[in-house]
Symmetry: C2
Subunit: 105 residues, 2 copies
């Protein structure tokens, strides 16, 4: 299984609508990807290490069976999904694909 | 609930022993934190966006009821847990605490 992490860098004054992200954007992603997205998680940054601000204002991680399953589910809807980003933020996210070594322990 | 993300920046030649991390370090963290750590996940970086290398060579995320529960569980063992890091990497991790907005959807 793989995990796609979408991480929005934090900065002073960064605009991020956490409610829209939770209530509209992520359900849109799930609806469009269908069973290609097994499930997802959403985080809101609170703090970094040693009292610093959080590195990321928000993150999501969504889980797919494979890179191919991710691409198959995501690619046909990339325009609609990416086009929704300005509705909740002006931050460009960092994207990473990871192998899920431990899903839950 | 909060999530503590520990993210190890990737670089050419970065040393990271994924097996040690999965089999020794993370079980040590869980054992020392006890019920303060509800569960954890472990990721191995595969790729970044648009064909770039992964931003993080590895990540873990561990889940606690609150920031206070995290500090209560982690602080007494910080020296032992941090002291184990050189056994699997020479990379200094980025740490972030997040509010879990969606645990699984």
């Amino acid at each position: 299984m793989i995990k796609v992490s979408v991480m929005y860098p934090n900065s002073p004054g960064a605009r991020f609508d956490h409610e829209y992200y939770r209530d509209k954007h992520m359900p849109l992603l799930k609806a469009r990807m269908g069973s290609s997205c097994k499930y997802y998680t959403v985080d809101k940054g609170l703090a970094g290490g040693a009292g610093a601000p959080a590195t990321y204002v928000a993150m999501c991680h969504f889980f797919c069976d494979s890179v191919e399953a991710y691409q198959r589910g995501f690619s046909p809807h990339v325009q609609e999904i990416m086009g929704d980003i300005p509705n909740y933020t002006d931050v460009s996210p960092v994207v990473q694909i990871s192998e899920v070594v431990v899903e839950r322990s």
